[in-house]
């Protein structure tokens, strides 16, 4: 097969918040840049973000980056790297104000500043009371942000390859990254994108679970491609279950609803969060709220005929507030739960939402791997940002609104690093290996010719049910052990997927099969890393690591204050230290403590 070759200074895979922010940096610096995306940029899943983006602007309540840093480290259950966290919270005001300058239609305070609302886990004065830190455009913050970023890229003349799917990462014999292969959906043609720098911004992989707030396209492609190319994945056992997905549908109801005053109630109408988190109550950190909800349901206090959900109540808010601050939520609730939240509470359950782990990077957006005893050696030519990357700022549990911030800060930072490396002459176009496209062509060819194999949707469903049952909100040793075997079996099944559609043109069956290859890498990484981590921390809570005096909340800092690294080859695990040291001397390390809210 003849494979076309295209050459660029940089190729960015992904046009969500992270990819578009990085692209802006490169386009405005004049680098010849290609942005590849499976969907038209404004259809990326950043568009679905609702609640807001964190920045300590202090527009409505006093605030500063020290408090934001403390909340983020604590939220991460101390697994976040404090250098990256300091970097992120200190850049927050700058990147949010930039967005405003790009035209993002933020809501406004009476004096014309960006409107901010409270959000889970964000506090004043080191945990004392909720703070107003989430900068919001109604409950459509992601939409407003993604469109503003796309529009700014139109202005900067960024070159997009829309509806092109990257297939595999190309590395040379030294392990340097020299580009990607990609398939154009409309024609089915495979091309090589040869570049000095490759930035992954492919988003999350929430579709490994059966019930998820994520879009169909969130299939962990970047993470899968990196894993297949020998890059380890960091902290993949940590998945955030958002407390409020619409029961049965999975569609998200933002935490901003609780930020505006919404209350979670059990079958007897009790505001049960008061028992679990006396200070922040319904606005405690997400992992805490999700577990409290599941405990209520497990102990028989769930709502509905099957007692399988709880209720999110905003009927006490004025209709004006709901229509002004939460119009999108009202629409979603009517559409997917069949209730108007002005009149009746919304049925909700914890739903898979966000991948804390990913491709290991440093705060500059460089992908880093262990080499010769150093755990963090940059891979030449390879960068990553956004949900597919692990900087690691979210550690074991992300705070709401910190992801949109992560996209902006690290998308920009990755872009800046590439521009600097480019200008200093550190980035050169390294020759392509002769077999650059072979892996991708073999994958396509297998799908072309596979007979007597498995069905894509069957294998995907098996994977999703396995993940849901064996690696959910609460984790159990025996289920994890069993889950590892099961997911390995499912991975075997995925090797022989077959498709009926053989057309070259817009073959979505083929796309789904190729996506499944990526999902499977993520699922294996998650299950195997989770089984191995014998403690409870953040979103990873297991029955055999309970709350004790020695290990508060089941967290075992002596043995497990470290990042997991999973290698696809042989399912090998490795670990690296957490960076507990901030970037500068302006702040002391946030000392380890038990998490309570």
């Amino acid at each position: 097969m003849n494979v076309a070759k295209r050459t660029f200074d940089a190729v960015i895979v992904g046009a969500g918040g992270a990819g578009l922010r990085a692209a802006l940096q490169l386009s405005e610096a004049g680098l010849k840049t290609a942005v590849l995306t499976k969907v038209f940029p404004t259809r990326s899943h950043t568009v679905a973000a609702q609640g807001g983006v964190a920045a300590s602007l202090g527009n409505s309540t006093e605030d500063n980056w020290h408090w934001h840093m403390y909340d983020t480290v604590k939220g991460s259950d101390w697994l976040g790297d404090q250098d990256a966290i300091e970097f992120m919270v200190r850049k927050a005001n700058e990147v949010v104000v930039e967005l405003e300058h790009y035209g993002m239609p933020f809501d406004r305070t009476d004096n014309g500043k960006i409107y901010q609302r409270p959000f889970g886990g964000h506090s004043m004065n080191y945990g004392q009371a909720p703070v107003m830190r989430s900068c919001a455009a109604a409950d459509r913050t992601g939409h407003a942000m993604l469109h503003a970023l796309y529009q700014r890229n139109v202005r900067a003349n960024t070159q997009f390859f829309v509806e092109w799917m990257a297939l595999d990462l190309i590395r040379n014999s030294e392990g340097d990254v020299v580009g990607v292969t990609a398939i154009e959906m409309e024609t089915g043609e495979v091309s090589i994108f040869h570049a000095k720098a490759t930035i992954f911004a492919t988003g999350g992989a929430g579709r490994i679970y059966y019930s998820s707030t994520n879009a169909f396209i969130n299939t962990g492609d970047g993470v899968g491609m990196a894993a297949r190319a020998g890059i380890p994945l960091e902290d993949m056992e940590f998945w955030q279950f958002h407390p409020t997905g619409v029961a049965g549908a999975g569609v998200l109801i933002t935490e901003g609803v609780r930020g505006e005053g919404g209350i979670l109630r059990n079958a007897s109408g009790e505001r049960f969060m008061e028992r679990y988190a006396p200070n922040l109550k319904d606005l405690a950190s997400r992992d805490v709220v999700s577990r409290s909800m599941v405990t209520e349901i497990n102990e028989g206090r769930g709502c509905g005929p099957d007692k399988d959900h709880v209720l999110l109540d905003i009927t006490h808010l004025s209709p004006e507030t709901i229509l002004k601050r939460l119009p999108g939520i009202r629409e979603i609730s009517i559409q997917f739960a069949g209730v108007d939240p002005i009149k009746a509470p919304i049925p909700v359950v914890p739903t898979c939402h966000y991948q804390m782990g990913g491709i290991p990077t440093n705060y500059k957006g460089q992908v880093v791997v262990p080499k010769d005893g150093n755990p963090n050696v940059p891979v030449s030519g390879f960068y990553a940002a956004g949900e597919c990357a692990c900087a690691s700022v979210h550690g074991a549990n992300r705070l709401g609104t910190n992801s949109l911030l992560d996209l902006l800060v690290f998308g920009k930072s990755a872009g800046e690093t590439v521009v600097e490396d480019f200008k200093s002459g550190n980035l050169t176009l390294k020759p392509l290996p002769a077999d650059a496209a072979d892996v991708s062509l073999a994958r396509i060819n297998r799908l072309e010719t596979q007979k007597g194999g498995t069905e894509v949707h069957d294998v995907r469903l098996d994977m999703q049910r396995t993940m849901q049952k064996h690696a959910g909100v609460f984790r159990f040793n025996d289920l994890l052990v069993e889950g590892v075997e099961k997911i390995k079996e499912v991975a075997e099944q995925a090797k022989t997927t077959q498709i009926g559609d053989k057309s070259k043109v817009w073959n979505t069956a083929r796309t789904e099969a190729l996506e499944l290859d990526n999902l499977i890498e993520v699922a294996k990484a998650t299950m195997i890393s989770a089984e191995a981590r014998k403690e409870s921390r953040g979103a990873h809570v297991r029955d055999d690591a309970p709350d004790t005096a020695e290990n508060p909340n089941g967290r075992d800092d002596k043995n497990w204050l470290k990042h997991t690294l999973w290698y696809s080859e042989g399912n090998r695990l490795d670990y690296k230290p957490v960076n507990l040291k901030p970037l500068s001397d302006d702040v002391d390390p946030i000392a380890l403590a038990k998490r309570t809210y």
Binding site: V39, T42, L57, E100, Y102, G103, R155, A215, V251
Partner: protein
């Protein structure tokens, strides 16, 4: 809930094998959890994986799955499957070239969107903090900025069908007014100049199809009216 079967009549065309498009009769048995048309299509695809359509968010914010449903444009993910008259007739969005099945070539649509310079223009040096905007001024953007670029409106507009290369169409004009209405934008005059043309703006004959189909409840006709008003106002 008992099992439900839905009958479909779907426009099919694969240029790789079909000489010309045809309508396929096909039915599918739904699971209890299948509530929206998109759920039914995803279910259908487990039966015939060659059926091609775009989809992503499944909650009406990404704008991927616009199609013509029983003669009216809409989003599959926001259309309840129960209550749809059967057979459910599905066609690609009208007026745009079909690539395959329900997938159309949106180039012309985005070209028109890009033609109105869809970005904020403000040439003052950027202040250190946010530019101030009063809540009332911000209100002006409601009903404008929420557009998801699904193209339901433009592809139901007869003026856009006849002149897709010359008439900006309702989505593009809504976006144009979104920037005109933004107190932070300084290019109102250029924006009006850009539209002052027998085709770009004035092909709109207030037929209102666009308002009727917008899945986000937006009103491009009103925005078009406001642009016309501004043109008149600056002429006198």
């Amino acid at each position: 809930m008992s099992k439900r079967t839905v009958q479909f009549k779907i426009y099919r065309y694969d240029p790789d094998k079909d000489e010309k498009p045809y309508m396929q009769d096909i039915s599918v048995e739904l699971e209890a959890s299948d509530k929206k048309l998109l759920d039914a299509l995803v279910r259908l695809k487990t039966k015939d994986d060659s059926l091609s359509f775009r989809r992503s968010c499944r909650e009406g914010v990404c704008g991927s799955d616009a199609m013509n449903i029983n003669g009216k444009n809409g989003l599959a993910c926001l259309t309840d499957i129960d209550g749809l008259p059967q057979p459910v007739v599905l066609r690609p969005l009208p007026g745009l070239p079909v690539i395959r099945d329900l997938i159309v070539d949106m180039t012309q649509f985005f070209k028109q969107y890009h033609s109105i310079k869809p970005y904020l223009v403000n040439n003052d040096p950027a202040p250190e903090r946010e530019r101030l905007q009063s809540p009332d001024d911000r209100e002006e953007l409601n009903g404008l900025y929420e557009c998801i670029l699904c193209a339901c409106c433009s592809t139901s507009c007869p003026s856009f069908w006849w002149n897709p290369d010359k008439f900006v169409g309702p989505a593009g004009l809504l976006a144009a007014y979104r920037f005109i209405a933004d107190t932070r934008d300084q290019a109102t005059n250029e924006r009006l100049d850009n539209l002052e043309d027998p085709y770009r703006l004035f092909r709109c004959h207030t037929i209102m199809n666009c308002v009727d189909v917008c899945p986000k409840g937006l009103n491009p006709t009103r925005a078009i009216g406001k642009i016309k008003e501004q043109m008149v106002r600056r002429a006198v």
